[in-house]
C-alpha cells in the first residue's frame, strides 16, 4: 500500500476529490460550495457596523460554512502531521524562474523569503501577505466568489458570470506574476 500521508497526491486523485465537495455539500444540506463567503460571515459576526452588506443573520446563513472553515484549518494541521514532510517538488523550470527572481529557499510550503513574521517587515513580505491578503478579501467579495465558488461550483453549473470571474482570476494572476513580483526583488 502506498503511504498516502507521505506522498504527493496525484492530480487525477486530488482534482476529483475537490470536485466532490460540490455534491457532498448539496446533498448534506443544499449548501453551495464557496469558501470566500466566510470572510463576509466573519465580518458580519466580528465587526458590528451599519453597513448593509454585513447586516444579515450570519448564524443562520453562514454557521455551516464557518464550521467548514474551521475544519479546513484543522485538516491542514492534521495533514501536516500525517506522514513525512518533504519539499514542494516544483518543476526545474519554475525553480529556475524563481531563483532568477530571488527565491532561494525551497524548503517550505511557501517561501521563507516572503512568508515569515520577519519577512513581514520587508517590502516583498508586506506586499505578499498584507496587500495580497487585502486584494483576496476585496476581490472575492466584489466578484461574489473565489476558486471554489466560481471556478468549481459556478463552472460546474455552466454559469456565465463565473466564467467571466475565472478569466479575471487569470488576468490578475498573470499580471501579478509577470509585472508585480519582479518589482519586489
Amino acid at each position: 500500500m502506498a503511504d498516502w500521508g507521505s506522498r504527493l497526491w496525484p492530480w487525477y486523485l486530488a482534482g476529483p476529490l475537490l470536485g466532490l465537495f460540490v455534491p457532498a455539500l448539496l446533498i448534506a444540506g443544499d449548501k453551495l460550495f464557496g469558501f470566500s463567503s466566510n470572510l463576509r460571515h466573519l465580518c458580519a459576526a466580528l465587526v458590528p457596523s451599519r453597513i448593509e452588506f454585513f447586516r444579515y443573520d450570519w448564524k443562520q446563513k453562514g454557521l455551516w460554512n464557518l464550521l467548514f472553515m474551521a475544519g479546513t484549518l484543522i485538516g491542514g494541521f492534521l495533514a501536516a502531521h500525517w506522514g513525512v514532510r518533504h519539499n514542494i517538488a516544483i518543476s526545474a523550470q519554475t525553480r529556475l524562474s524563481l531563483a532568477k527572481l530571488g527565491i532561494h529557499d525551497f524548503s517550505g510550503v511557501a517561501p521563507h523569503e516572503l512568508f515569515t513574521w520577519h519577512a513581514l517587515f520587508t517590502l516583498r513580505g508586506f506586499v505578499s501577505v498584507v496587500v495580497g491578503g487585502f486584494l483576496v478579501g476585496f476581490g472575492t467579495a466584489y466578484a461574489g466568489g473565489c476558486t471554489s465558488g466560481h471556478a468549481i461550483s459556478g463552472l460546474a453549473d455552466f454559469q456565465l458570470p463565473s466564467l467571466i470571474a475565472v478569466i479575471g482570476f487569470f488576468v490578475g494572476g498573470l499580471a501579478a506574476t509577470y509585472f508585480i513580483l519582479p518589482l519586489l526583488f
Binding site: 486530488a14 448539496l26 474551521a70 491542514g76 476581490g139 467571466i164 470571474a165 475565472v166 490578475g172 494572476g173
Partner: protein, 156 residues
C-alpha cells in the same frame, strides 16, 4: 421525514441540528487534508501554474470542475433532496453588467498570485504552521469589509 419541517418546530429539532452541523466540520477537515496533500495550498504550485510550467494545477482544477459538473447534472436530473429535506437548487448568479465579475475577479487574481493562496488555502496554511498567514486573513477581512463599505459606490 421531509414534509413536516416548516410547519412547527418539533422538540427534536435542536438535537438534530448539532450532529447535522458536525458534517460540515468533517467535510472541512477533509478539504484541508486534500489541499495539503495535493500541495494546492503552496505558493510554489501557484507560481508553477501562472508560469505555465506544469500541467498539474490545470489537471486538478479541470478534473474538479468535470467531477462537480457530472454530479450537479445528476442531482438536477434526479431532482434529489438533501439529507435535511430541502429540494436541492443552485441559484443562478445575476450577470448584470458583468463588471463585478471582471473587476472583482481580476482583483482577486492579483491577490491569489501574491499570497499564493485563495481563501481556503489561507486557512489550511495556518494549520500547516505558516502562522504569518493569520495576518493575510486579517487583511483579507479588512478587504472584504472595505468592499462592503464601498459597495454602494462601485459598479456592478
Amino acid at each position: 421525514m421531509t414534509t413536516q419541517t416548516s410547519i412547527a418546530p418539533t422538540p427534536s429539532a435542536p438535537a438534530k441540528r448539532g450532529p447535522a452541523l458536525l458534517v460540515y466540520l468533517l467535510l472541512g477537515i477533509a478539504f484541508g487534508v486534500v489541499l495539503t496533500k495535493s500541495e494546492v495550498l503552496s505558493w510554489f504550485r501557484i507560481q508553477e501554474m501562472f508560469r505555465f510550467q506544469s500541467f498539474r494545477m490545470y489537471g486538478i482544477i479541470g478534473s474538479a470542475i468535470v467531477t462537480a459538473a457530472i454530479f450537479v447534472a445528476l442531482i438536477k436530473r434526479l431532482n434529489l433532496k438533501s439529507a435535511s429535506g430541502e429540494i436541492i437548487s443552485i441559484p443562478p448568479k445575476q450577470l448584470g453588467s458583468g463588471i463585478r465579475y471582471a473587476a472583482g475577479g481580476t482583483i482577486f487574481g492579483l491577490g491569489w498570485a501574491l499570497t499564493g493562496a485563495c481563501p481556503g488555502p489561507l486557512f489550511a496554511l495556518i494549520g500547516n504552521g505558516v502562522s504569518v498567514m493569520v495576518v493575510a486573513v486579517l487583511s483579507a477581512l479588512l478587504g472584504t469589509w472595505t468592499y462592503g463599505w464601498l459597495r454602494p459606490k462601485l459598479p456592478h
